[in-house]
Symmetry: C2
């Protein structure tokens, strides 16, 4: 029996029309480095998004589900592109300006982007790439920057403001299928080619509602959100869409992501919410320590991307900025969990512990843990397994070109369609996730898992240890066993027996998890973003390049 | 181009599983009239809902989309039925225990209900009806009440607790189409047969997310919601589903809806939120005035069903209970608007004015005003038209039996599928709705609309007037003109010229809206629920039974 409800699709154009009418006076405030930031009302964003859509269709020939890429900072023009492109039926492709150029070129080609809208300040990055972007026919430039860099390029170059000028200020947004592609992001995997994730109108709409639910970020038109997380990073965690849904003002840093301007924009514009990765907040904290400012407007600071060190969380608490952990990834749109402690712990000693977890799953994100043998593990806060998730804003495949079947690699998707996150952790009976390792780094020993991160943290708390990396190495009896790679502090000494005993006594590591294989190295190899490069360590071990002591 | 998102349906079973695991310790607290209320955790609700589904399927033969009716107060068993019935794929049909018995019988027959789950305390209502309920095969009785009343009835009678006992505590909830029927309510129209509205899993799920958005009710597991609005009244405004989504405790009054027990449950259980129609709050205010209690836990009181008188709102403000208007109807699930004032008015004189409106539309409810000639009217806060709405939780038709096409009466649905609400009002540029009349009562004069309610309120503010009803009567020149029907206070006198001048001078009524036709009556005829019965007045006028003075 069918319902008698109206069959109304969940479309991004609805969010645009709603935000630009009912919340027409809310603002996108873009930092300019000048005395005054640039302010544009949601109503203006609405008319300019309509003009942009007309320009893309009529001047640039964007049709059907053509891909329109953006190479832009967080600013009001980028918000206009966010709404115009999917609302007209095309697909927004946000380019990560921090990727190596050759990866960017590969991604643009794979997505077959037809248009790139770029900030003028990013032309030094774009111009040398252009000869390699075979699918790109048009470049639209917005904001200050040297257009001369594009001279001689084999594309049509347009000025953003010029193509908008004089266009109609309304657009008859089409009634699309809500499952149609709206936006795409590529994951920057460390192995293999980048993988494309395509969000639908439905997934963006539902995700925006979740972000605004009181148990998640709970934003309303009384809020101003400082969106530091880049718009090319999982749609700035969905915030531009979510804020338009409830009239939240957006404070956009553009290219001014350094601690000093961030501190200034917080003090001057008094945002009530902010979102960024921990590194940004580390820098901000140092700045605020050196030059104190009033940042107490920030009642809620969402931190994701990686775990927030407890010391940083406590330091921000003291400044009146309350940090709230969230976990997600490109494949999860990204809201997977939010660490709001359960009601009964508020004001108790337990509260802080809950804030250090990755958080609790919302209704629309189903979660399960899979153990080393593929078995389902209980939510007991102790059994560690790979996290798998399912839900209407979770990827079930990767894009593989317009004419190809979507990719479903077996290491990323289960047979029954769940996303394998590659993260290993525990879930408490009340649904709080604690991540302990990456699945590729965990040590699979005799059917049980040993967390490399837990061993590393315990080792690094020893006074003689500067850095420590633990990787899995093959073992005839146990399948895999941990290898401890230690960098000693300058002038410090410590023998392996002592370190091993320290792990057991002070680190509370179970006996069967203690490493037998030990080595001293000068430095732990790192990836380009500063993470331990465990692939290199495993390769060196396999090649016999490390001097191993077996206890 | 399709997205790569998972295709996961929005189902009520997901809300049930989520609430009963991640929020397993949250509670449904049911008032019993005894010293202690009855407390049941969400985890228990989850296992008992599974048991109920097994019992309905295996013992009572409920299959496919069979309708299972409830004739129950607000209590934990009713919550179990709310989740078990739709989750198993059947359709929950909540019966309004305040309807006249013959209407109830008609509704049960029309829906072809197979099972009725009834509270024991309601058997005196159900027992005499049973011989007329031809489709009902099973009655399940829950809670105290005289089972002897069912003796001799031609149905199988079951004890709720007995059929649950020993059943498995989990159920393999089916993966349904999210557009499938989940629950149904009949509107109690004053004319014609009641009309059935069928909610889908999708509409209930989306509506629950909206209720929990910070701009609507914004509830979390830190809240306890006192749900006074009956579960048979538009699904208790969607609160049982919404609370399960975020772990909000439910405080359920069962049959104890009188002011004294309500005041007691507020003082003892300290709910943070409550939802009810104004009449309930009028009674509670009188009780609190007579016997003061601490009710300040109630930071948010949602009032819907009809407008809250300003004096009542101010009185509650003084008690620390903050009233928030909401507007909706059975056909809108019901959340249509919520009156949270815009951020820039908070703390200003404008704020209270916004709180007196019906409120602002959320993203998922599109609204438009249609004027007397079918034209679209602007959102200028002045142009009054009939409100039409569109959205994923708005009805697009009425149920007309399992084998019949849904009904789409032209006075209820526009040609392009919008719901005609039958309410007349204005919308401000920032999307706040102010209702001024019902469409059937508005006076259509020369292509413009005159609000009967506005004239009545102005007349009733005259010291000599006890009651006044204004209805449309035919007019050769203008189509329709207002007829003012006045009841004078005992011993008071007033001539019509004076009252007319009063309307213009004190009531600020435009000259062209002033009534020419006047009459004095002993009393205004009323409907069974105490509203002015304007049909009767129009009939009496047409029959020449009224003594009319024309000015």
């Amino acid at each position: 029996m069918l319902s008698t409800m109206q069959d109304v699709p969940l479309l991004i154009s609805r969010i645009l029309v709603h935000g630009s009418t009912i919340h027409g006076t809310s603002q996108v405030i873009t930092w300019t480095g000048e005395d005054e930031p640039h302010r544009r009302s949601f109503a203006e964003i609405g008319t300019r998004a309509a003009q942009l859509a007309h320009a893309l269709r009529e001047d640039l020939g964007v049709a059907a589900d053509d891909r329109v890429a953006t190479l832009m900072w967080n600013n009001s023009e980028h918000v206009e592109a966010y709404f115009a492109i999917p609302s007209m039926g095309a697909v927004l492709h946000t380019l990560n300006l921090r990727l190596p150029p050759e990866q960017l070129a590969w991604i643009v080609g794979h997505a077959a982007d037809k248009v790139v809208i770029a900030n003028g300040s990013l032309l030094p990055l774009l111009a040398p790439l252009l000869p390699h972007l075979k699918t790109v026919e048009h470049v639209v430039v917005s904001g200050p920057g040297d257009r001369g860099l594009l001279a001689g390029a084999d594309v049509q170059v347009h000025e953003y403001e010029e193509i908008l000028a004089g266009k109609p200020t309304t657009y008859d947004w089409p009634e699309l299928d809500e499952r149609q592609a709206a936006a795409m992001c590529y994951t920057s995997g460390t192995t293999g080619d980048p993988k494309g994730v395509i969000y639908s109108h439905r997934s963006v709409y539902l995700h925006s509602m979740q972000v605004n639910m009181a148990q998640s970020m709970g934003l309303t038109d009384q809020d101003t959100s400082l969106i530091v997380v880049p718009q090319f990073h999982v749609n700035a965690w969905g915030l531009p869409h979510a804020t338009f849904m409830t009239g939240v003002n957006m404070l956009m840093p553009d290219r001014f992501l350094q601690p000093a301007p961030l501190a200034e924009m917080i003090e001057r514009e008094k945002p009530t919410h902010a979102a960024a990765v921990p590194t940004i907040w580390q820098g901000l904290l140092a700045e605020l320590t050196a030059r104190p400012r009033d940042v107490s407007s920030l009642g809620q600071v969402t931190i994701g991307g990686s775990a927030c060190p407890p010391a940083l969380m406590e330091a921000f608490d003291k400044l009146g900025m309350r940090v709230c952990h969230a976990w997600g990834m490109t494949e999860t749109s990204p809201l997977g969990t939010v660490a709001r402690p359960p009601a009964h712990t508020i004001g108790t000693e337990e509260e802080f512990g809950y804030r250090l977890t990755q958080g609790r799953f919302p209704t629309s994100v189903e979660a399960r843990l899979t153990g080393p043998g593929g078995e389902r593990l209980p939510w007991d806060g102790e059994s560690a397994g790979e996290l798998e998730v399912r839900g209407p804003w979770i990827a079930g495949a990767y894009y593989n070109g317009p004419d190809a079947e979507p990719l479903r690699p077996v290491d990323k998707f289960s047979e029954d369609g769940w996303l394998k996150t590659g993260d290993v952790g525990t879930i408490s009976p009340d649904g709080f996730l604690t991540l302990t390792d990456r699945a590729k780094d965990v040590i699979k020993s005799g059917g049980e898992w040993i967390s490399s991160v837990e061993l590393e943290n315990a080792l690094m708390s020893h006074p003689a240890v500067a850095e420590a990396a633990v990787v899995a190495v093959p073992d005839d009896k146990w399948g895999e066993r941990p290898l401890a790679t230690v960098v000693l502090k300058e002038g410090a000494t410590a023998d392996f027996e002592t370190l091993r005993a320290f792990l057991a006594d002070e680190g509370h590591i179970a006996k069967w998890q203690l490493p037998e294989r030990w080595t001293i190295v000068e430095a732990v190899p790192k990836t380009s973003v500063g993470k331990f490069d465990k692939k290199v360590l495993r390769r060196r071990y396999a090649a016999g390049e490390l001097d191993i002591t077996k206890l």
